[in-house]
């Protein structure tokens, strides 16, 4: 057998997945072929690399993170997430999200019908302009969906709204403002964290940086505070250090958060 054919069997040979006769084939080949024999040898030799041990502090760090997460969570939001049941298609259609989605669907149908009934042979410049306008209208529609989802009662729907916003490349200032509002005032930690994730993708806008930095002072959840600190460290704005210093001096700060702020400051200097 040729090396190429053996090559197809070799990975399975190494993980011991082959039947006895295929096993024999490979072994017969490697007895004769130096390169393939060395392939097998190097695979076996990898066992020389030692198992790395994580440091003893690793478990403690995890515990602290878990603790921060649990204390930071709003119990009401948890209960709400757990209780939530979908009420079927009709209740969805009656909800504001459904209503906006309906309008969007009708708009698409309208555009499609208009284009096919019009039956125009070529797209003129005017048509293209029209299509562009329609496209931007659709984008607006999608952003409207985000806006209305962010106002839903149920945390998981708001969460969906946030993740929906991430599909849009360019966000409407109104949507950005809604995300900032969510980051500041949403009563679910999960939703606030997701909003921060979403905003971090729009770091190109200086206003977003300012909003994120301002959110730090009023956050109560240690987990969100840590996430905000990390985000500020990543952006490294001119006033980041000053703001972090002020923040680290606030009374009643969770020790983990204070540590994180100090750590971030040390990275900045």
């Amino acid at each position: 057998m040729k090396c190429e054919e053996i090559g197809e069997l070799l990975p399975d040979y190494l993980q011991g997945n082959l039947k006895a006769e295929q096993d024999d084939l490979v072994e017969k080949h490697i007895a004769e072929c130096a390169d393939c024999r060395e392939d097998v040898a190097i695979w076996k030799k990898l066992s020389l690399l030692p198992v790395e041990q994580p440091s003893a502090g690793s478990r403690e760090r995890f515990e602290a993170m878990l603790h921060a997460y649990q204390t930071g969570r709003n119990d009401k939001a948890v209960a709400e997430l757990g209780r939530e049941k979908r009420g079927g298609v009709w209740s969805w259609l009656r909800s504001p999200v459904g209503a906006v989605a309906w309008s969007a669907a009708l708009l698409v149908i309208g555009v499609f019908a208009g284009n096919s009934l019009g039956n125009r042979p070529t797209h003129s410049m005017a048509d293209q302009g029209e299509i562009a306008a329609m496209h931007s209208e659709l984008t607006n529609m999608r952003q409207l969906v985000v806006l209305s989802m962010l106002q839903q009662q149920s945390a998981s729907e708001r969460l969906q709204g946030v993740s929906y916003s991430q599909r849009e490349g360019q966000l409407d200032p109104q949507v950005v403002a809604a995300l900032v509002h969510t980051l500041r005032y949403d009563n679910s930690v999960d939703v606030r964290l997701a909003a921060l994730d979403a905003l971090s993708r729009h770091g190109g806008q200086p206003q977003v940086h300012r909003d994120v930095m301002e959110a730090l002072q009023e956050q109560q959840s240690p987990l969100v505070q840590v996430a905000l600190i990390d985000q500020m460290l990543e952006w490294r704005d001119a006033d980041t250090a000053q703001r972090l210093r002020n923040f680290a001096q606030s009374p009643n700060l969770n020790p983990t958060v204070r540590q994180r702020a100090d750590w971030a400051l040390s990275k900045l200097n």
Binding site: G7, E8, L10, P11, D12, Q15, N17, D35, E38, D39, A41, I42, W43, K45, L46, L48, L49, P50, V51, E52, Q53, P54, S55, S58, R59, R61, F62, E63, M65, L66, Y69, Q70, R73, V78, L81, G82, S156, L159, D190, L193, A194, E234, S266, K267
Partner: protein, 215 residues
Amino acid sequence: MKEQKRADTENDQAMKLAPDEDLMLEVRNGTGETLGVLFDRYHAPLYNFYAKLTGDRTLSEDLVQEVFLRILRYRQSYQAGTPFRAWIYQIARNARVDHYRKTPRHITFEPEMAPPVMPKDSAQQSEEAELLHRALMQMPEEKREILILSRFQELKYNEIARLLGCELGTVKTRIHRAIQELRQNFKQLERGQLNSDKNSGGTKFVPPRRAGNEV
């Protein structure tokens, strides 16, 4: 009091034997208490995955923590019936990709390329292990990753295929190529080692200095 204690221990026992998927569903539906058991099961394998992949121990510890934080954040997205192992490795890969997206390697990434602590049983073995480590680090990351996943993380090829989003046959081909490249790198290093041994009368390999600035 005593009975309560016994019930607690039994509960702990049951938790320690429960499949990953059941524990994760509890994490999803509860407040995350059971995540500790999953941490105990996975943090060392994940740490090894990252350490072998990046050669940076500090970064590896941070990434492991990031994985568990992400599990908490995104626990609502875990679906019953999803194999947990595949799910957590998916998160682990994303965490690393995001890290490099946020912190481009040439700016703040300080590779701590120090060779791993080697077993002391035989001088020749530890020398080989050092060369092997270097040969592995010379490989492009995606080849190194697939080798680590199949050799050290004990993932089956079909699990890797699902993880990387490619065909089973492709995984096997890539693994074969990766092994060949590792073998060639290793041989080259071995030859270099022999030559330098001849020239210098057998000095030991000196680990490269830490790159980047101390912050």
